[in-house]
Subunit: 271 residues, 2 copies
């Protein structure tokens, strides 16, 4: 598959790369359709926030331009963009003024079962808890061992995703998705200031809900709120929205607000 | 410098490597003197524990043999060993049965000021707190953004190390060292079951203290315990032991137990 480092064809990265050494970097997983990256502005916004919070120096105009060129060559697929804090010798100290290394990798669009979007999905209730680290919360950084451990908890393919909670048992997100609840026509999603990844589709849906006049609350979600939910769905910037029909002993229908936002998400990904 | 992947000369790693993608792996930083890796058995013990806890499949006999060969070629220096959960396509799910990728990198022994060991060091009091994640605590895994953020807090080279605390303010470790206190002739070091890296020199000193009849407590260390300490030192498997003479407004002498263990550490590293 197509892959670039700093704008050049490359399939391997220097062993001194700080992404490998420390997970010292950020990534974005971007759906590409007809040569165009979906939700580009939101992906770049999150990347800019990540660079700012981790003090990674990157030329984001160059990143954007390379991504647009890469997407054109890719056509249809997923572009994974990794920005790492360049290379360094042994030692945690960042090299002052180092420019971020830009890695782009193409892959085919994943072939998820159509039933995921139509009938909804079962979520595995993961035991792996998300640690609370406000300095990293919300970012899509390269330190992802919690997700690896959580994803390794189930092999049964009837679970399309896993539910992740924090140390207090609060509902946070899926392993590779964000999670929303609907209760009394209010859209609820977890506050991600202590842990979790603030997904680009989550951000897009929060924007769209505001435009559509749908009341939204971003707040702590104790597990009991799942029991009280009328609808539950997961989302990400590749598959859009999947209704959640089952987590452990709990069940929900694919309700009207889920279906409405699912159509919105599809439009966002297709345009 | 010398570097190998899976026993072959190589300077770059495949972009699909899960170490780069997710920090999905472990590492060891091993002092090599006269072609021999120091504290080899303890390094391999920690690696085995890490592989077990992260379910990374690795042939540790092969790892050991490669490391011995690599050390012979290196002569004097530091061998950094990285084990990653092989390669995979996009997605957190580990590939069943994947063998770990073995990466070895050589570098010169760091030229620390002699005064660090002789007069002792100042520690910067880092604001970055360690998150509590019992599933990863103790391991030297590749998710090291907290250390990168902590190390970026100071540029003043009169600080040789930084003090890291957990979210409750308890004293845990240095950025690249473990920390010990001495109080009333008892050796104290932080319990690392919620966060921190269980260093190989820490393990060696705990063993040696038992042999020497020095009472040891591995326990929670509220910040007040630093104020009450008679001696403080940091240690790792490259430099051995440095007395700590200053953290913020607190000062300690390089005391007798520190000096005794410093000699022990030197012997451990030289033999």
């Amino acid at each position: 598959m197509l892959s670039w480092i700093d704008g050049q064809d490359a399939a391997a990265v220097n062993l001194q790369n700080r992404g490998l050494a420390y997970g010292d970097g950020l990534f974005e997983t971007i759906a590409v359709r007809g040569g165009r990256p979906s939700l580009l502005a939101l992906h770049l916004d999150r990347l800019a926030l990540g660079c700012q919070r981790l003090a990674i120096e990157a030329d984001l105009t160059l990143v954007r331009n390379e991504l647009l060129q890469f997407a054109q060559l890719l056509g249809d697929g997923v572009a994974k963009l990794i920005l790492t804090r360049g290379d360094s010798q042994r030692g945690y100290a960042p090299v002052a003024g180092a420019q971020a290394r830009r890695i782009l990798q193409g892959s085919p669009l994943p072939a998820y079962p159509v039933a995921n979007a139509e009938q909804g999905v079962r979520l595995f209730a993961c035991q792996t808890r998300l640690a609370e680290q406000p300095l990293l919360a919300g970012l899509k950084h390269l330190n992802r061992l919690e997700q690896v451990l959580a994803r390794a908890e189930w092999q049964d393919s009837t679970f399309a995703e896993g539910l992740m909670r924090d140390g207090q048992g609060r509902v946070i997100e899926g392993v590779y998705s964000n999670l929303f609840l609907v209760r009394d026509n209010v859209l609820l999603t977890a506050d991600l200031s202590r842990c979790g990844v603030a997904g680009v589709m989550r951000a897009a849906l929060l924007e769209q809900a505001a435009l559509l006049g749908i009341p939204v609350q971003v707040r702590d979600l104790p597990f009991e709120m799942l029991e009280q939910a009328d609808e539950v769905f997961v989302c990400n910037s590749v598959y859009g929205i999947w209704p959640v029909r089952e987590i452990a002993a709990l069940n929900w229908p694919a309700g009207p607000l889920t279906r409405k936002l699912q159509a919105v998400a599809r439009t966002l990904l297709d345009t």
